[in-house]
C-alpha cells in the first residue's frame, strides 16, 4: 500500500526543511520526498495549503490503564492522541497497580500492541508504589520496555533517594523525569498562591514549591553528573534556574504544557474545577516567562500532561476535585494560537518542540522526516479557525477549561507507521 501526499508544506526541524514538496509513503516508510512525485498505484492525499510535520511526540500523558479505565484507556487515549497529531506518547506510571515492575510494564505494552493506534511507551516509577521510599526495579523494567522513569504526581521528597535514582538511572542510560514539587510547601494547596487565591479564599501552592525542588534536583544532577528532564515547569524562576543550568553545561532538559502557556490563574475565578491542575495555572509573569523560555530554547519541548478525569470527579467542590487537564486534542491549536501566531515560535521551532526534541530527549529514532524513516506524520491546516468544543473529543474524559475558546490550527490527518489513523471530517 502506498500513500502519496501532494503539495504539502513539509517542515522538519532536524534537517531545517521548509518547502512545498510531495511525500511518498511505501509500506510503513517514507520512500521519497521530492517535487512532483508521480505514482499511479498510490492513494493521493491533497495537502495543498497544509503543513506536513513528523508526528508529534508527547513525553507526558496519563492513559489511566490499568486501574482507572473509566477515565481513559490506552485505546481511547491513543485515539485522542491521533486526533491531536501525536504518533508517540509516553504514559506515566500513576496507574493502579503502579507501573513499578516488569509485570505491569508488560501489561501496558501488550495492551498498547492490541488496542493503540500509535506508539505508546510506558514510563516506569522511580520508587515502588510512587511512595518515595525505595527504588523500583528499574533495570528489570527497562528490559521489559520502559522509556524513562518518573514519580510524576509526587515529588521525590527524600533528596538522598533522588540522588541514588539519578545515579542508578545514569548507569542504565535511562532518562529520569522529575515532577519537581516540594510537598511540604504545596501541602493542601489547590491553585497558584497569589492575589487570585487570596481573593477566592483557596489555599495556594506557591511557585516556591516547584522552584526549590528544581534547584535541588539541578544541584543533584550537577554533583552526580547525570541527565535530568524536568516535567511541566510553570514558574518564572524555574525558567531562570534551567537556563543557568544549561549555560553551566549540565544535561538538563525540560518541558512546558499548553495550559501553562495559554492560561493564567485568573482562569480559576468562578471556581471551574477544570482549571485545577498541578502545577497550578500561574500568574501572568510566569506565563510570559514560559513563552520566553520556549522561544529562547530554555524549554526544550511541549508536553501535554494529558490527565483525564471523569466528569463526576470534577463536578465537586474545588478543594476536593482531582488535579488534571486533558491536553492531547487541544495542544496543536493552542500552540499555534499562543506561540506561532504571536511570533514566539516559527513553525519549524514548533516542530522541534513537539516532535524532534522530545524524541531526542527520549533517545528515540523518531520526530523527523527523511527518506527511509518511519512514516509517522501529521498534516494540519495552520490557518483553520475553530472553537474548541466537547463534541469533537475522542478522549473518554472532558476535563478541559478550553471549551469555547477560539483557536487557530487544526489537524487534518495523522499517519502512524504508514497508516492513516485519523482524518478530520
Amino acid at each position: 500500500m502506498k500513500l502519496l501526499i501532494k503539495n504539502a508544506r513539509v517542515i522538519d526541524a532536524k534537517s531545517n526543511l521548509d518547502d512545498q514538496l510531495d511525500v511518498l509513503i511505501e509500506n510503513n516508510k517514507i520512500a521519497k520526498i521530492a517535487k512532483n512525485i508521480k505514482d499511479k498505484d498510490a492513494e493521493i492525499i491533497d495537502a495543498q495549503d497544509k503543513v506536513l510535520m513528523p508526528g508529534f511526540v508527547d513525553m507526558h500523558v496519563h492513559l489511566r490503564e490499568p486501574g482507572y479505565e473509566y477515565k481513559e484507556t490506552i485505546k481511547t487515549g491513543s485515539m485522542a492522541a491521533a486526533a491531536g497529531g501525536f504518533t508517540t506518547v509516553c504514559c506515566m506510571p500513576n496507574t493502579n497497580p503502579v507501573i513499578d515492575n516488569q509485570g505491569v510494564v508488560e501489561f501496558v505494552i501488550s495492551e498498547a500492541r492490541k488496542t493503540a493506534l500509535i506508539n505508546v511507551l510506558p514510563i516506569g516509577a522511580i520508587t515502588k508504589g510512587l511512595k518515595g521510599e525505595e527504588l523500583s526495579e528499574i533495570a528489570d523494567m527497562q528490559n521489559a520496555g520502559i522509556i524513562a522513569i518518573s514519580d510524576d504526581g509526587n515529588g521525590v521528597m527524600n533528596a538522598d533517594l533522588m540522588r541514588r535514582a539519578l545515579e542508578y538511572a545514569s548507569m542504565l542510560n535511562i532518562l529520569v523525569i522529575a515532577h519537581s514539587e516540594n510537598n511540604d510547601l504545596s501541602f493542601g494547596g489547590v491553585m497558584n498562591e497569589g492575589y487570585i487565591s487570596t481573593k477566592l479564599g483557596l489555599k495556594g501552592i506557591p511557585t516556591l514549591a516547584e522552584v526549590t525542588m528544581i534547584a535541588r534536583d539541578i544541584e543533584i544532577a550537577r554533583y552526580t553528573d547525570t541527565c535530568l528532564h524536568i516535567a511541566h515547569i510553570s514558574a518564572k524562576e524555574s525558567v531562570v534556574l534551567v537556563k543557568r543550568a544549561k549555560k553551566d553545561g549540565l544535561k538538563i532538559t525540560c518541558e512546558a504544557t499548553p495550559h501553562h502557556f495559554s492560561l493564567t490563574d485568573e482562569a480559576v475565578l468562578g471556581y471551574d474545577t477544570n482549571t485545577k491542575v498541578n502545577p497550578p495555572l500561574r500568574a501572568k509573569a510566569d506565563v510570559q516567562a514560559i513563552k520566553q523560555g520556549l522561544k529562547d530554547g530554555t524549554i526544550d519541548c511541549i508536553a501535554t500532561d494529558h490527565a483525564p478525569h471523569a466528569e463526576s470527579e470534577k463536578d465537586v467542590e474545588y478543594d476536593h476535585a482531582p488535579f488534571g487537564i486533558i491536553g492531547l486534542e487541544t495542544a496543536l491549536s493552542l500552540a499555534i494560537s499562543e506561540l506561532v501566531e504571536p511570533g514566539i515560535l516559527t513553525l519549524n521551532q514548533l516542530c522541534e518542540k513537539m516532535a524532534y526534541n522530545p524524541a531526542k530527549i527520549l533517545g528515540l529514532d523518531k520526530g523527523y522526516i527523511a527518506e527511509g524513516s518511519n512514516a509517522d506524520l501529521v498534516i494540519f491546516d495552520p490557518e483553520k479557525e475553530s472553537i474548541i468544543s466537547l463534541a469533537n473529543f475522542k478522549s473518554k474524559s472532558k476535563n478541559t477549561p478550553f471549551i469555547g475558546r477560539k483557536v487557530k490550527g487544526a489537524v487534518a490527518l495523522t499517519i502512524s507507521n504508514g497508516k492513516i489513523i485519523y482524518q478530520a471530517d
Binding site: 492575589y195 487570596t198 481573593k199 479564599g201 506557591p206 471556581y271 478543594d319
Partner: protein, 314 residues
C-alpha cells in the same frame, strides 16, 4: 437604581455600593420588627427556606432561622451528620434533590470556598452564602457595616482596622470588599504568617504592628484566632499571640480614638485576641452586632426572594 435583581447573595465582591446600601436600608426598616411583642410580619408566608450547614454554627444559623421565621417563612434545618453527604452523595446531587422538593431559598454554609458559586447558576432556589471556606461571609460583613452605620452615622471616610487571622477569614474578605465599596479606609493587622499573599491588591493598608492598627481607628474588628493555626506552625503560641495582638483596654485607650467601636464576629477567645475588659467594656458593640444580624438577614431573605419570584413570573 435602588432595584434589587439578584436571586442569590454569594458575596460582597460582586455587589455595587448601591446594592449594599439598599440591603442596609432595608435592614433598617426590618429592625423594628424584632422589638415588637409579636415579632412577625407576613412577608415570606408560604415560602420554604432550607438552612444547610456543613460546618458547626450557633450564631449564624440561629440568626438566619429567626430572620426567616420573623418573615413567616417555613424553615428546615439540615446539618451534615444527618444528610446524605455522609453516604457518599455529591453536593450537587443533594442540592438537586432539595430543589426537586420545591424550596424557595437555601442558606448554605460550607468549608470549601466557592461551592455555591458553581451551584447557584444551575439552581432555581435562591442561594444565600452563610460562609464558604475562607472566601466570603457576606451577611456577617453586612451586619458589621449596619452596626457601624448605626453608631457612626456613616461609613465613608472612617478608619476601620481588621485584626487577626486574615488568611483564613471569610469575615475579613467580605468586610474588605464591602467597606471599600462604601468608602472606608481599611487597615488589616496580623502577624505576617497570617496575611495572605498580595492582599494589598484588595486596596487595604497592611501592618503587623497592633499599635499602628489601633492608632486613629474609628472601628476595630477583631477576628477569632483558632488554635489549629498555631498547631499548623503559623505562630509560636497562643500566649505570644495574646501579648502581641490581644486587644486590651489599656492598648485601646493608649492608641485608639476616644469613641472607637470594638466589634467581633464571635465566638470570642477571651484573653487571647480580645481581653475581657474590652469584650465587656464600653467600646464594645458585639451584642448589638448580634441583634442587627437578624435585621440584616431578614433584609437579604426578603430581597432575594422578591427578585427570585419576579424572575419566575417573567
Amino acid at each position: 437604581m435602588n432595584e434589587w435583581t439578584r436571586k442569590d447573595l454569594l458575596g460582597l465582591e460582586e455587589l455595587s455600593a448601591q446594592e449594599i446600601e439598599l440591603i442596609l436600608q432595608t435592614a433598617g426598616s426590618f429592625k423594628e420588627v424584632s422589638t415588637r411583642s409579636v415579632k412577625k410580619v407576613p412577608t415570606l408566608r408560604g415560602k420554604t427556606i432550607v438552612l444547610f450547614f456543613f460546618e458547626p454554627s450557633t450564631r449564624t444559623r440561629t440568626s438566619f432561622e429567626l430572620a426567616a421565621k420573623r418573615l413567616s417563612a417555613d424553615t428546615l434545618s439540615i446539618a451534615t451528620s444527618t444528610s446524605a453527604i455522609q453516604k457518599g452523595e455529591t453536593l450537587k446531587d443533594t442540592f438537586k434533590n432539595i430543589e426537586a422538593m420545591k424550596v424557595d431559598a437555601i442558606i448554605l454554609r460550607h468549608s470549601s470556598s466557592g461551592v455555591m458559586h458553581t451551584l447557584a447558576e444551575s439552581m432555581g432556589p435562591s442561594i444565600i452564602n452563610a460562609g464558604d471556606g475562607c472566601h466570603e461571609h457576606p451577611t456577617q460583613a453586612l451586619l458589621d457595616m449596619f452596626t457601624i452605620k448605626e453608631k457612626k452615622g456613616k461609613i465613608k471616610g472612617l478608619n476601620v482596622s481588621i485584626i487577626g487571622d486574615i488568611t483564613h477569614s471569610r469575615v475579613a474578605r467580605s468586610n474588605i470588599w464591602g467597606l471599600k465599596k462604601l468608602g472606608a479606609n481599611v487597615t488589616i493587622c496580623a502577624p505576617r504568617t497570617l496575611l495572605p499573599r498580595e492582599i494589598e491588591k484588595m486596596g487595604v493598608n497592611i501592618t503587623t504592628d497592633l499599635s499602628k492598627a489601633l492608632k486613629g481607628a474609628d472601628v476595630i474588628n477583631i477576628l477569632r484566632i483558632q488554635k489549629e493555626r498555631q498547631k499548623a506552625g503559623l505562630f509560636p503560641s497562643m500566649r505570644e499571640y495574646a501579648i502581641q495582638y490581644g486587644v486590651s483596654k489599656e492598648k485601646l485607650e493608649k492608641y485608639a480614638k476616644k469613641d472607637v467601636l470594638v466589634m467581633h464576629p464571635g465566638p470570642m477567645n477571651r484573653g487571647i485576641e480580645i481581653m475581657p475588659d474590652v469584650a465587656d467594656g464600653t467600646y464594645s458593640v458585639i451584642l448589638e452586632q448580634v441583634t442587627n444580624g437578624i435585621a440584616v438577614r431578614m433584609a437579604v431573605l426578603y430581597l432575594v426572594s422578591q427578585a427570585n419570584s419576579d424572575e419566575q413570573e417573567q
